[in-house]
Symmetry: C2
Subunit: 223 residues, 2 copies
Amino acid sequence: MQDRAIRTRRKILEAAASVFGERGYQAATIADILSTAGVTKGALYFHFASKEQLAQGVLRAQEGQDPVPSRTCKAQELVDMVMVYVHRLQTDSMVRAGVWLALNQQAADLDRSGPFLTWSETLTELLEAAREQGELLPHVKPAETARVIVGAFAGVQAMSQTLSDYADLGERIAELLRHILPNVVISSVLASVALDGDRGTKVSAEIAAEAETDGQRLETVGG
Amino acid sequence: MQDRAIRTRRKILEAAASVFGERGYQAATIADILSTAGVTKGALYFHFASKEQLAQGVLRAQEGQDPVPSRTCKAQELVDMVMVYVHRLQTDSMVRAGVWLALNQQAADLDRSGPFLTWSETLTELLEAAREQGELLPHVKPAETARVIVGAFAGVQAMSQTLSDYADLGERIAELLRHILPNVVISSVLASVALDGDRGTKVSAEIAAEAETDGQRLETVGG
């Protein structure tokens, strides 16, 4: 997709996220989103054929971001992935809009399964890699534990938003993982895992620094 | 409150729950709720002064139900309380409406903290009682564990509704508790706790049977 099309698509998704937030998914109309986005009807329908597709776009807006750095310890990589997501929720309104839409249980006609399934698959794969390295306790079933973490995360973030407007989100998700991990990874792995409320901010800074280095490297190659 | 007033109040709350579900909280109006409930404007405003108060009524509709039977083992009582709530979610549309409203993160002007705080207090008290009986591991902080269970429950139920329309809710909540409890209660307690996907249905039947016995006893006393 060309730069201009990507920018238009993003503008439309931001308008959709804002209208869904303001009016609720059920009551929102394409006309509302059109006037908020300030694009032509043709441009909107080129990217999204329906309100449902706009919602799916918002639900998927979190995907395709820079991955967390690969770690020798896969349990650490899982923690990092979850905690970077905490940071994204706190700093990116599109990521927030996606999660809020996924939890809009009143929107009966909207398929909200995407984020739950995508996240479950990602965490299952990481846990399977952890299993192969001998990091997991013998009774653990990766798909079950992944499902528990994804579901529990969704609720804990909702509670944090409700009670503290996400100010305590890092602490609350670290607290959740500290309740689950001792029953998932072997004790030597547990002792080595870095898990505090700020972990997401630290790893996000690491990702940003790596992206910058890569950018400079590309510039050098280009020049 | 008189029987008739209780029935009218319930009718209004059911209408509010239905309208919030259909149109979303943000777009719903008192006029919509009025025409769905089929009561007079005076009756509605006698019970609820605003849309926010109607929403608070829906959020609190789950309260005041028959308590779960007291258990010698407080960890079992906690499990029973959580699993009975599973059963209520599956069978009572008002309970569902309350949870869905509590998770409507897009409704920025609605105070949704009530259910999170009430449930956290209830589970904290139960965990403190468990602590006094020596059921908990030494590192456990009741308020933290209660908060984790409440938040996690909210998300796991949302995921179950999205992926299976609550068909697997009992299994998914039992799975959540099986991931958390080994890190909360001592092993002899863990071994004794009955925790399967059907637990909520069984205990709900027990509660109903007790209520019936109490009713018969009252009739006997009255006659």
